[in-house]
C-alpha cells in the first residue's frame, strides 16, 4: 500500500474510532495532514501508528498507551484539554483549536 493510500486508510479508521468518543478531527487541516503523515512514517518504522508527539518507552505496556487514537488511555486528561496531546483530535464542540492549551496530565487533573 502506498503512503498516501495508507494515510487515507488511517484517516477513515480513526474517524470512526474517535467519533464514538465525542471527538473529531481538528479544524486545523494543516495539523491533520502533518500528524497523519508522521503516523504513517512511524508505522513504517515501528509497525504501529504511534502518536507523533509522545516518545516511545520501549516497554510494551507503556507504548500501547500512545497508539493513535490514544484517547481512551488518557480520557480525563484529554477531556480537560478538549483535545488529544498532539491536537489531531478535538472535542466535537471545538471550533477554534488555537484557543486550546496543552497541559501535562498532572496539571490537567489537579
Amino acid at each position: 500500500m502506498s503512503v498516501s493510500d495508507r494515510k487515507e486508510s488511517l484517516r477513515a479508521q480513526f474517524q470512526g474510532a474517535v467519533d464514538v468518543l465525542g471527538y473529531k478531527y481538528t479544524p486545523d487541516t494543516e495539523l491533520v495532514e502533518w500528524c497523519l503523515d508522521q503516523e504513517v512514517i512511524l508505522e513504517q518504522k515501528h509497525g504501529i501508528p504511534f502518536c507523533p508527539c509522545q516518545g516511545l518507552n520501549y516497554r510494551r505496556e507503556k507504548d500501547m498507551r500512545i497508539v493513535c487514537p490514544c484517547i481512551p488511555w488518557h480520557r480525563a486528561h484529554f477531556d480537560k484539554m478538549k483535545r488529544c496531546w498532539c491536537g489531531l483530535f478535538v472535542h466535537k464542540d471545538v471550533e477554534d483549536p488555537d484557543q486550546l492549551v496543552q497541559m501535562s496530565e498532572a496539571e490537567a487533573l489537579q
Binding site: 495539523l31 502533518w34 500528524c35 508522521q38 512514517i41 512511524l42 507523533p52 508527539c53 509522545q54 516518545g55 516511545l56 518507552n57 520501549y58 500512545i66 496531546w85 498532539c86 491536537g87 492549551v101 496543552q102 497541559m103 501535562s104 496530565e105 498532572a106 496539571e107
Partner: protein, 86 residues
C-alpha cells in the same frame, strides 16, 4: 543567561513551534530530538524524566528550574521573565 533545554520529537509539530519560539526571540537554547537520539541518550532521558515524575509527552522546555510540558508560549514568557531574560 539561564540554561534552556528543549526536549522534542522530530515528528511533533508542537515541538517545532516550541523551538521556533526561542529562535524567533533570538534566545539561545539546547535541544534534543528524543526519537533521533542514540539508545544511550534515550535511556538517560527516560531515567531522568522518571526521576522527575515526567511522562514522555513532548515538547518539554526546561527553563532554569522550571519545566513546561507542551507548547506554552505564555508560560515560556513568564519563565523567561522570572529568570531575568529580557
Amino acid at each position: 543567561m539561564v540554561k534552556i533545554m528543549i526536549y522534542a520529537l522530530s515528528t511533533c509539530p508542537w515541538c517545532k513551534k516550541a523551538k521556533r519560539y526561542f529562535v524567533d526571540k533570538n534566545i539561545p537554547f539546547d535541544f534534543m530530538d528524543y526519537d533521533l537520539a542514540t539508545e544511550e541518550d534515550q535511556n538517560r532521558v527516560r531515567r531522568d524524566f522518571e526521576k522527575r515524575n515526567l511522562d514522555l509527552s513532548f515538547p518539554k522546555a526546561f527553563i532554569g528550574d522550571k519545566i513546561i510540558s507542551g507548547y506554552r508560549p505564555d508560560d515560556y514568557e513568564k519563565a523567561l521573565q522570572e529568570a531575568g531574560v529580557p
